[in-house]
């Protein structure tokens, strides 16, 4: 590799159902300015900008790099926009990392956002047609399939929903703050798509998340500890083809394998200290624990059930509250990557996992067919347990 990339600044907006106080430019600037401030850099220090978001129809703004470039200090600079469905936030972070790794750009600002309150996410997810089943409607049969295959008890999803919302109470940026949430409340909330109840589903949020990435020189001068990008991987498969495993997609397994190999990780369950996984519907926590080889087949729900994925557990998942607590679609994948970076920098505040040195940031998208993940660490060449 020509260069090593590191996260030297992070910034996020407060996530909310509707950010009525800002324009599109105001929203992205809020995150970008915070990231620059965190890195103690100015706009002029940025060599290139990479933005990502979900389909343009969510806001009705086509190719927004064109109308947002001024707001992001990009005039006179390279700016490009990544679009890989729900995984886009992580794909964008990875694209930014490769700009630095190539040795062609020293300091890169990357940002993911969505101001989906301007439109309607269910409408857009259904292609703008009547009768949209939403993302949850597409995943529900696969979740039921997982439950049948694994023999998981029905309460697992409810447990995840409670855990992530309680974690979010320690994250001031999170959209949903539900300190009174309980298993009973989740179980009694309306059934949206069997088996998913309302409180097991992600909210629709406005928000933006940004990072400043730089090379080793930039990491050295950074005022706060950098998060080194140790490895990243992406894999894609078709949405539909004869014999496709929709529950444990091969692309997800391949992506994890490639990621761990690049990172030199042999035992992800032990060697990764904390994971921010893209869990928009509760059951995807155990499904991704298995789907990304953190545990064996049929074991994911047991990890959740045993409390291993709690903040106090052996493999904390989503201490930030995850997608279940904040979901500006274009930003969600970047938030996972940003939260992983925050953990190894020791800047996660009240949702910090003590001693986290190696963290996984993950996103998936489309018909669970796009995967993008990265491993960040507190050292450029970490020694694993």
């Amino acid at each position: 590799m020509a260069e090593r990339a590191a996260v030297v600044g992070i910034g996020q907006t407060k996530y909310a159902r509707r950010r009525a106080d800002v324009s599109l430019e105001g929203l992205v600037r809020e995150a970008a300015l915070r990231a620059l401030e965190d890195a103690e850099l100015g706009w002029k220090d940025i060599d290139a900008i990479v933005i990502g978001k979900a389909p343009d129809a969510l806001e009705g703004v086509m190719m927004p790099e064109l109308s947002l470039c001024d707001a992001l200090g990009a005039v006179g600079k390279p700016i490009h926009r990544v679009h890989t469905a729900g995984s886009v936030g992580a794909s964008t972070a990875i694209s930014a990392a490769t700009l630095v790794e190539s040795g062609r750009y020293r300091t890169v600002l990357t940002l993911g956002y969505e101001k989906q309150s301007e439109g309607n996410a269910t409408w857009a997810l259904g292609g703008g047609r009547s009768g949209s089943q939403g993302a949850g409607g597409s995943f529900a049969p696969w979740i039921r399939n997982y439950i049948q295959r694994s023999g998981a008890p029905e309460h697992i999803g409810w447990k995840v929903a409670v855990k992530d919302r309680l974690n979010a109470c320690r994250n001031p940026y999170a959209h949903l703050h539900m300190p009174d949430i309980t298993i009973e409340k989740v179980k009694e909330s309306p059934l949206l798509w069997d088996p998913l109840h309302f409180l097991e589903s992600c909210p629709s949020s406005d928000g933006a998340a940004a990072m400043v990435l730089s090379d080793a020189t930039g990491a050295k001068r950074a005022p706060r500890p950098p998060a080194w990008v140790i490895a990243h991987a992406k894999r894609t498969e078709f949405s539909q083809f004869p014999g496709r495993d929709t529950v444990k997609p091969v692309a997800g397994v391949d992506c994890a394998r490639a990621l761990y190999q690049k990172a030199g990780i042999r035992d992800p369950r032990r060697q990764i200290d904390v994971a921010e996984l893209y869990v928009p519907f509760s059951w995807y926590e155990p499904m991704w624990l298995e789907g990304h080889l953190i545990c064996g087949e049929g074991q994911g729900w047991k990890m959740t059930d045993a409390g291993e994925t709690e903040m106090t557990g052996a493999f904390p998942v989503n201490p930030s509250g995850g997608v279940l607590s904040s979901n500006p679609i274009g930003a969600s994948g970047m938030i996972r990557c940003l939260e992983a970076a925050s953990q190894v920098r020791g800047t996660a505040g009240e949702h910090q996992i003590d001693g986290a040195k190696v963290a996984l940031g993950h996103a998936y998208g489309g018909a669970a067919q796009y995967f993008a993940m990265w491993i960040v660490a507190s050292e450029p060449a970490p020694t694993y347990r």
Partner: protein
């Protein structure tokens, strides 16, 4: 802003080893994915590679052209994604996908990338779609379309004495004539500037022929690094540099007679470090050729758009990549040694990408 030294060892240079494009169709009767499938198969056949030998795949396309959020997902069918592949997608012209692929290969750990751009403009009404690229509060609700902005740019050129209406007509006349020898061009004919000038205005001082046609089409290239490039192509076309920059989106703050971002990109690629034998520019509106020739400081005799350019075929989201292919082809065929391909995005050349290509000595 810092600029990094380019990797100078020849093993690290990246070359185009195969190219493929569809003709520019007024209407293609099947999907983008089917076009991309044909091109992918062509590239693999030409270079003798299995699909699995391609390390990274990246495409450019635009959902709004087909009016379907997530339309790009279907295009994956075209490149093949089983077994799963490492791929990405930009909601931009394939030329920017080429940029990302070139950067990705520069990291040095992988060797071969497939790059594509595709779009069908025929189903929708581009004139109504493209205003959505403008400021959502102050411009998009006015339906401010690119032809209208091009009209403003054209008048600014006239007012500044930098061009005449005849100059615009000459660009179109020359392009249409050159397109006669391009089997992929959509609009081609021998028409004089005088005949063109007799047509009525559409967005004054522009006439309908000063605008691009509506087209469906796709383009794809295979790029490879150093040693691998030499193994895959007898005549690799080296990518010397790619740079892209953007201007303000506030039209009222821009000097429409010039393109500062094109100038910056030219500096970034070292455009004039050598002779330019051929330039394929994204001239969608005839005044853009005038602006670009000035901004890129092209010598008066430089061959611009021998393919006919986008005025003769404009498969949006592939158009920029087609420019790269047209230059690469000429270099490969020995008709040029060094050339530049240009891609643009946004109203009045707001964003500009340059790619300098060179054959072996």
């Amino acid at each position: 802003m810092t600029t990094r030294e380019r990797l100078s060892r020849s093993d690290e240079d990246i070359a185009i080893v195969a190219v493929a494009q569809t003709p520019s169709h007024r209407h293609y009767d099947d999907s983008e994915a089917s076009m991309l499938m044909d091109l992918t198969n062509q590239l693999l056949a030409e270079s003798g590679l299995e699909r699995s030998a391609v390390d990274f795949t990246i495409a450019g396309s635009c959902d709004y052209l087909s009016g379907m959020p997530f339309a790009f997902v279907s295009n994956v069918d075209g490149f093949g994604a089983w077994p799963p592949v490492y791929e990405s997608h930009l909601e931009m012209d394939g030329a920017w996908a080429l940029f990302e692929a070139w950067v990705r290969l520069s990291v040095g750990d992988i060797d071969i990338a497939l790059v594509a751009g595709s779009g069908k403009s025929s189903p929708g009404n581009p004139r109504e779609i493209f205003p959505l690229q403008t400021d959502p509060y102050t411009a998009a609700p006015l339906g401010l379309d690119p032809a209208s902005v091009a009209g403003l740019q054209a008048r600014a050129l006239l007012d500044a004495g930098l061009a005449t209406e005849r100059d615009f007509a000459e660009v179109v006349s020359r392009s249409r004539r050159d397109a006669l020898s391009n089997p992929n061009a959509q609009v081609k004919k021998d028409v004089s500037a005088d005949a063109l000038l007799a047509e009525p205005y559409y967005a004054s001082p522009l006439r309908k022929h000063d605008l691009p046609p509506i087209s469906d089409g796709a383009a794809a290239v295979l790029i490879a690094r150093g040693k691998r490039a030499r193994e895959l192509a007898k005549k690799p076309v080296w990518i010397r540099a790619i740079d892209h920059r953007i201007d303000s989106h506030h039209l009222g703050l821009r000097d429409l007679t010039d393109s500062p971002s094109a100038r910056l990109a030219a500096k970034g690629v070292g455009l004039h470090d050598g002779p330019i034998d051929v330039a394929e520019l994204c001239v969608r509106y005839s005044p853009e050729e005038i602006v670009l020739r000035r901004a890129l400081e092209l010598a008066p005799g430089t061959a611009v758009n021998p393919s006919g350019g986008p005025l003769c075929g404009h498969p949006v989201m592939a158009t920029g990549l087609v420019r790269v292919i047209e230059v690469a082809r000429r270099i490969r065929e020995g008709r040029a040694r060094r050339g530049v391909a240009h891609a643009a995005s946004g109203p009045a050349l707001q964003q500009n990408l340059l790619c300098v290509l060179e054959g072996d000595a």
